[in-house]
């Protein structure tokens, strides 16, 4: 690996975690499917990068970073794991086994960032006290991002540059048999990833669809694109037959008949700039003290600037209020930003009944529930569904997998950002409540869970590899292979299925993901070394 390649990869890792992903970096660049593909481009082998990234991503399918809790740094795992796979010339399964500890290591960077970013809240407070809407970006974006760059770039560069140099000799030192065992372990680990995802969607009506997806691939040999289309049709059919998609309640009309005018003091351009600031910078200075507090204030800056262009003290008062503790799911929670913009506009028009307490308590009241809904839909069902679908397509290094995922996922997230913000600003709090009560959210969760279960079931056979290496001597020098001559004739893929369900039940029983991973690693090591598993 050249120094330039290592620099580019370290830059890519910073980009994954940075605020420059146009609001969707968290959902796209950060996922190993995408970052593996991009690492592959840098190293001149996008196909190998896609294969390794896809494999690593299966472990992190159901990964949710909720409320500032980050279980593992999937960006570092994806970038470094893929770089090792390509430069070390090792297969995707072995790369996967190497990526796990890297991911755990990386979560330290997150905690350091969340702690140290608090310092920039002090800078933001000073700027807010001066009503300085124009330079607020220094505290909310520039300072925390420079620090994040340093904390991301250096470890990633060191890991990738020196790691890649030595990975060959380390693997040679370990010898073929140990590397072979690593591959056995890496092949089994995706079972934990799938089981973790199942934990949030494997219930009620969707259970059967998991087995359906498994059988579609194992018995009928369907590829992932066919499974995707088929599962979409089946999901819609099921929901119609079960009468689950017919509730036409929707948003109650009185919510629209609020009679209040918008775009009085604010124009569309200002609203757009507020929205853009939100999607770009909501977590630019994510920190334990205020969470998205400074990001919220940054999204209000264009509004406040527009409403009080010549009143510095008023700007200072509004900025201080809008910089309080705030934390929600950025996409679905965008309606709170829109609603607050509407409140601010009303207040500037002279409506006395909108007190600062009303604004603060509405923000604080709505941020939790919308985070719950957003994390469930975006992190719990939609992203695992799309990832499974496009990871399945990327199995053989089909570059359409990561590219199509990027486009579909980003479009979905941008739409939610946009419609949520507009709902909050244009229709107000009653409309948000009406939407929550309309039942559409539960329909979306159920539909995506059913389809997600089908696709996950299909993934088991492709990504979890575990097979028996036992040969029984029969007669004159002939060997009876338990795997190919017995298990495969009854139900191919039965061991991966059992392993996945086994992990699922352990997780369901309260085992932590780390403990489950360690058990799988132990079983893989013992099985691989003894030759029982191959």
């Amino acid at each position: 690996m050249t120094i330039i390649q290592a620099v580019l990869i370290a830059l890519l890792y910073y980009m994954c975690n940075s605020t420059w992903g146009l609001g969707v970096g968290w959902w796209t660049l950060m996922r190993p499917l995408v970052s593996g593909f991009l690492t592959g481009i840098i190293l001149g082998d996008p196909v190998a990068g896609t294969i390794a990234g896809a494999q690593i991503n299966v472990l992190y399918l159901g990964w949710i970073g909720a409320g500032g809790a980050l279980p593992s740094d999937i960006a570092l795992a994806g970038v470094v794991g893929t770089a090792f796979a390509i430069t070390g010339g090792i297969d995707a399964n072995t790369a996967m086994a190497l990526a796990v500890p890297v991911g755990l290591l990386g979560s330290v960077i997150w905690i350091v960032k969340m702690t140290l970013n608090t310092a920039y809240v002090r800078v933001a407070e000073k700027l807010a006290a001066n009503g300085d809407t124009k330079r607020f970006w220094i505290a909310d974006v520039a300072l925390p991002q420079i620090m994040l760059f340093i904390f991301s770039f250096i470890p990633a560069f060191v890991l990738v540059y020196w790691g890649s140099e030595h990975i060959q000799s380390i693997l040679q030192f370990m010898g073929d048999s140990v590397v072979g065992v690593l591959a056995v372990v890496g092949g089994m680990l995706p079972a934990v990833g799938i089981a973790l995802t199942l934990k949030s969607i494997f219930k009620g009506q969707s259970v059967l669809f998991f087995f359906l997806g498994f059988l579609l691939v194992q018995y009928f040999g369907l590829d992932m694109i066919s499974v995707g289309f088929l599962s979409a049709v089946l999901t819609l059919l099921y929901m119609q037959l079960a009468g689950l998609s017919t509730s036409k309640e929707g948003i109650r009309p009185e919510a629209f008949a609020h009679g209040e005018k918008r775009y009085v003091l604010l124009d569309k351009r200002t609203i757009f700039r507020s929205w853009l600031n939100w999607i770009m910078f909501n977590q630019a200075n994510y920190n334990y003290e205020r969470m998205q507090g400074t990001g919220f204030c940054h999204s209000m800056a264009p509004i406040i600037d527009r409403l009080y262009p010549n009143d510095r003290e008023k700007r200072a008062e509004r900025m201080k209020l809008q910089m309080q503790f705030f934390n929600t799911e950025p996409q679905w929670g965008a309606c709170i930003i829109g609603l607050t913009a509407a409140f601010e506009e009303k207040k500037a028009q002279g409506y006395e009944d909108i007190s600062d307490e009303t604004i603060a308590s509405t923000k604080a009241g709505l941020m939790g529930p919308l985070a719950g809904i957003g994390d469930t839909i975006d992190g719990g069902v939609i992203t695992p569904l799309l990832l499974s679908l496009f990871i399945g397509m990327a199995t053989n290094g089909n570059l359409l997998g990561p590219i199509a995922y990027l486009i579909v996922e980003a479009s979905f997230m941008w739409s939610i950002y946009w419609f949520s913000y507009k709902l909050g600003y244009e229709k107000g709090s009653e409309a948000i409540l009406a939407f929550l009560e309309s039942g559409r959210i539960n329909q979306l969760i159920l539909g995506a869970s059913i389809m997600g279960c089908t696709v996950l079931g299909a993934l088991v056979g492709n990504f979890v590899t575990v097979s028996l290496g036992i040969n029984i001597p029969v007669g004159t020098g002939e060997l009876f292979n338990l795997q190919s001559q017995l298990l495969d004739t009854i139900l191919p893929g039965s061991l991966p299925l059992l392993l996945t369900l086994g992990c699922y039940f352990l997780l369901k029983k309260g085992w932590s993901s780390v403990k489950t991973i360690l058990l799988v690693v132990a079983v893989g090591l013992i099985g691989g070394l003894s030759g029982i598993l191959a």
Binding site: A66, M291, Q324, G365, G368, D375, I432, N442, G510
Partner: protein, 160 residues
Amino acid sequence: MKDITLARIDDRLIHGQVVAFWANEKPINKILIIDDDLPSDAFMSRVYRASAPSGVEVILKNCTDGFSFLKGEAESNERILLLVKVPERIEELIDSGIPLKKVVLGGMGSNDKRRTFNRNVSASADEIACFKRIIEKGTEMVYQMIPSDKPVPLQTIISQ
């Protein structure tokens, strides 16, 4: 007396960590929120009821009603997640005779009176004193954002 599956102090009440992590870890079918102001806030009451996962009933009670609810007869298959915004509610529950073995501290946002206590928890001097009293009364208190985090006993954070 009702059985409480999980008791948590978290001023965002129902949100991602609760819905996407705890509710999967410890299957629950009722969320009991005890708060002085919420039950009389019609708008927020409806928001919380509408944002619970499907199959989970949200019950909002003020303190007095909350005690009598918890003292009521336990129903079979009832799995309750108790959520409160501040530690004082927990102390009042214990004082009025509701036995709580363990309470998880999840998150408390910063404000003018509070200072950073631990990571995403800010607390005032009064609230820290309240943590101590709860522990002295024999209730185990741990800081734990999500189930996969290692629970940290509150004593170790307080004594730091």
